[in-house]
């Protein structure tokens, strides 16, 4: 059966660490990093990448449009 796999790329230096993406993700993929970027923000990253389904919810709500979403079908 084909499965959908997704992944996101966050522009780390432009992320403001607002956390809006984290709560928008239906599969709890995203967390804010304990490290900070050049501006001092705890940037978003995929803590749980295997769970990403590429739904783009996180990217839709990101006020700074710093998330790109990738998605592909994988034969299981």
């Amino acid at each position: 059966m084909a499965k959908i796999k997704g992944a996101i790329v966050v522009e780390i230096e432009k992320c403001k660490g607002c956390g809006v993406c984290e709560v928008a993700c239906p599969t709890q993929v995203i967390k804010l990093h304990t490290d900070v970027n050049g501006k001092g923000y705890h940037f978003a990253y995929m803590e749980n990448p295997d769970a990403c389904i590429g739904c783009a919810n996180c990217a839709m709500v990101c006020p700074d449009s710093v998330i790109s979403v990738y998605k592909m079908k994988v034969e299981a």
């Binding site: 928008a24 783009a56 919810n57 709500v61 449009s65 592909m72």
Partner: protein, 256 residues
């Protein structure tokens, strides 16, 4: 399966609108202004009208919209965006013209311009970001501030007995015959973003068909002015703003 196998150009399904400039948005982390900008730019990009569109920026946090949107934009004096947009549209009727305004701009100092542009039925789009506060100047009470809401000039909450009632300007302009389409949306969840995007597209399509004025309110957060985290401000908005400012269409075209 390796993430590197997924992150390939052919698998890209969502990315930043090409109509953003490279400048980082000046908005506070989590502020809905950035999300609203994105929906406007995505709409213009999808309709392929970037070279035919002229925006009018307000005074308020989004005063610098022209720095972020890679389209033609005229910045207007505080509250005067609908008057400036009227002139632009009348001089260049073939252009798509929209204003982008906060509630202090549109519903306080610019009330006259708003109401008369709406009543005249100017063939423009008004995007109205209602965060219930004067964000840029430090979170003062606005006409749109809801009852009991704390602001820097109503620190114990808006007491309507003394400070008057909040103004539902969107319901008010919906009464005017020149307003063809009037809707209230939000951009704090993916579902809300999808609906708001559809509404903005509808508004621009109406302008293409010369239908008159389309008014799109977006109830949004001002997490800095409200003194909350972005995520908490969105929850507060759902619990407190939406009951007074219910989301959905207020006036929809009747003809088929």
């Amino acid at each position: 399966m390796d993430i590197k196998d997924i992150i390939k150009p052919e698998n890209l399904v969502y990315s930043k609108s090409k109509l953003f400039t490279d400048k980082a948005l000046s908005y506070c982390p989590g502020c809905g202004h950035g999300t609203a900008h994105k929906l406007v730019l995505q709409t213009i990009e999808e309709m392929g009208i970037e070279s035919e569109t002229i925006g009018v920026a307000p005074v308020g946090c989004s005063v610098l919209a022209y720095e972020f949107m890679d389209i033609d934009i005229q910045q207007a004096s505080h509250g005067r965006a609908p008057a400036v947009a009227t002139a632009i549209k009348r001089l260049m009727p073939e252009k798509f013209v929209f204003t982008y305004q906060g509630d202090g701009d549109l519903a306080a100092i610019g009330t006259a311009e708003t109401i008369h542009a709406c009543n005249r039925g100017e063939n423009i789009v008004i995007i109205f970001i209602n965060n219930g506060i004067y964000g840029m100047t430090g979170g003062q009470m606005a006409p749109t501030t809801i009852a009991k809401m704390k602001t820097s000039t109503s620190p114990y909450g808006r007491d309507t007995a003394i400070m008057g009632n909040p103004l539902k300007i969107t319901e008010l302009v919906a009464q005017l015959p020149g307003v063809y389409y009037c809707t209230r949306q939000a951009v704090h969840t993916a579902a809300a973003v999808r609906k708001a995007k559809k509404a903005i597209r509808q508004a621009f399509e109406n302008q293409k068909l010369k239908k008159g004025l389309s008014f799109v309110e977006i109830v949004s957060n001002c997490n800095s002015g409200w003194k909350m985290t972005p995520v908490d401000s969105n929850i507060w908005m759902e619990n407190n703003m939406f009951p007074f400012y219910p989301l959905g269409d207020i006036k929809v075209p009747t003809e088929k």
